[in-house]
Symmetry: C2
């Protein structure tokens, strides 16, 4: 299990140089949404002097600063890499910022494909300064092939599934978990991707696992969460109609063995992002998920989480009504209208 | 692409110490079936002095010998690891045989999880003796995320799918390819697992690929095969109802983008091997595959390959008739009765 740093115990500077914004820096945005009390500054020289909330609507009071040395006045203990580099490699300018952070005694938290903890130069430097390089995307060694162990846990397991990447499977998972806790349910969010792991402090990035063991990783996550909780909300990944990532999605479905699913969708999305694959109807997509659970452990979709970020409030309500009519399931936008409706559906199980 | 050694140009000694048999040594059996002219000896001290055909029905004339030094009298140029070690690690006894083989100037071909080419000691020794350590299971670097490129190839793409692991997806793929070639079709088998790769000399073991890139690996295999061939038979993996490997199966389905599928099944198999998951009916399993292709590139199952190894000839015919009635599709056992029926179905496309 990937458990090395507890972000909630740190003061965090977020590196988002050159691309801080709603859509450009998903990691930074997620950290600001869920760890607002821990984020002391965001680094993006293009936006120096602004308040975070001027740019992404949330994070009021968090300053955007020019560089790490400006951020140091807020006494951070950890630097989070809040953006993904073009091409997957670490740009030289970021590398020098990471050097500087390590020299200043900051731990580094990263969700990059390029593992900092396998970068000899950085590892040497980190050892010298006694700081941790935490790669949230790096899976643990010795994961098993899944063997249906997740079916045996006492906890109720809910998996967020969806129509595509980036429709809100992580966000819905966290919002449902938090709403359930407000109702005094002993709920835990089970992260399966680097952003969720960075926010929540544990989990496995299952898309970084060798495919033989991907369902096994999902199983491990459920077993871990079930040790101390009665209700697990497992973060979904990808989609069954995604040409690149559908295998990750199915591994997660069969490895986590949910008791029920929440279907996540963005009403304005008509085809798989970056592909020319049209999305099937919601009932057809829901049926695919349910049908694939049938032979192993039958589970139903019991609610729909709609991501209406690009719709007005009136349009959002219309979209929700339309989906409730089309699917016969309770629907909501968890960010705009809260997740209680979906927690209610879970409590009716 | 994994292309380092051409097994067909070698004289091969197969290591199967302690477990040579029909079910115990799948790799050894497959090598003997498809490279009979290249295999000069099988090493298994339990069966010293026997003929291979005494034990597994095929491979007449190939001797079973006590150890590598006995095998050396047949002048092998390559040692193939023909068994999988218990627990995945390399047993010390095998390690010493590999040492001895390298010292004798033999190349090593392995499908083990433990990559010989990353074993410092073996790599040093291999360099000294100028031999190749070929890990058939080791995927190439820099595989892409799948982007539907396989849809654009001119070749007709057939994927063997199935009800479970070890029901004959590789065997059917090779038999169909060979039968198609006999009919002068420009056909190529596209291996996706270590045994197929060792027999055929190229391919990618997609279950060893990080799950983000598993469909991308399948795409690469199809693009490679389509360079010089009109008909590709892609080796399937796992099953959509396999709790451990279903994600690999779906990655392969969406990455290879077949024009049609051949469904492989063992009539006597009633549940997923090593699991307590009952197999759905054949029409239900076939429907799952077809439904999952629909949103991306619709493809039908056009024939059934039955593995009747444990049935009499009469029972085999009965099983084939029953499946043809149940599914409305042509069915056969490709080992017992040839693959022409399935090639005919492909030619009707």
């Amino acid at each position: 299990m990937n458990y090395h740093l507890q972000p909630k115990s740190h003061k965090i500077a977020v590196l988002a140089e050159g691309s801080f914004g709603v859509l450009e820096s998903k990691t930074a945005t997620v950290l600001i949404r869920y760890l607002p009390d821990n984020i002391v500054a965001v680094i993006d020289s293009r936006n120096t002097g602004k308040d975070v909330s001027d740019i992404i609507d949330i994070g009021k009071g968090i300053p955007v600063v020019r560089n790490l040395s400006e951020a140091m006045q807020y006494d951070p203990t950890l630097l989070a890499i809040g953006i993904a580099p073009p091409g997957g490699e670490l740009p030289p300018a970021w590398r020098s910022t990471i050097y500087e952070a390590i020299h200043s005694g900051l731990h580094i938290m990263s969700g990059l494909h390029h593992f900092l903890s396998e970068d000899v130069e950085l590892v040497d430097l980190a050892e010298k300064h006694n700081v941790v390089l935490w790669d949230a995307r790096k899976p643990p060694d010795n994961l098993p092939v899944a063997t249906c162990l997740a079916a045996d846990v006492d906890a109720t397991v809910i998996l967020t599934v969806g129509s595509d990447c980036r429709v809100g499977k992580m966000l819905s998972g966290i919002e449902i978990t938090q709403a359930a806790r407000k109702k005094s349910l002993n709920a835990e969010f089970c992260p399966t991707g680097q952003n969720g792991i960075m926010v929540w402090g544990w989990g496995i990035a299952i898309d970084a696992v060798i495919s033989d063991f991907t369902a096994g990783a999902a199983e491990e996550i459920v077993l871990e969460g079930a040790k101390n909780h009665d209700l697990l909300i497992v973060e979904g990944q990808g989609s069954l109609v995604h040409p690149g990532y559908s295998g990750v999605t199915l591994s997660l479905l069969h490895g986590s063995m949910p008791d029920a699913m929440i279907f996540c969708h963005q009403p304005s999305r008509k085809q798989v992002a970056r592909y020319t694959v049209p999305l099937p109807s919601l009932p057809d997509m829901i049926m695919q998920y349910e049908m694939l659970t049938n032979p192993i452990k039958p589970a139903k979709v019991i609610g729909v989480a709609l991501n209406c970020f690009d719709l007005s409030e009136r349009e959002s309500y219309q979209a929700i009504d339309a989906v409730e009519t089309e699917t016969g399931l309770p629907a909501t936008d968890v960010v705009k209208f809260g997740a209680d409706k979906l927690v209610d559906a879970i409590q009716r199980l």
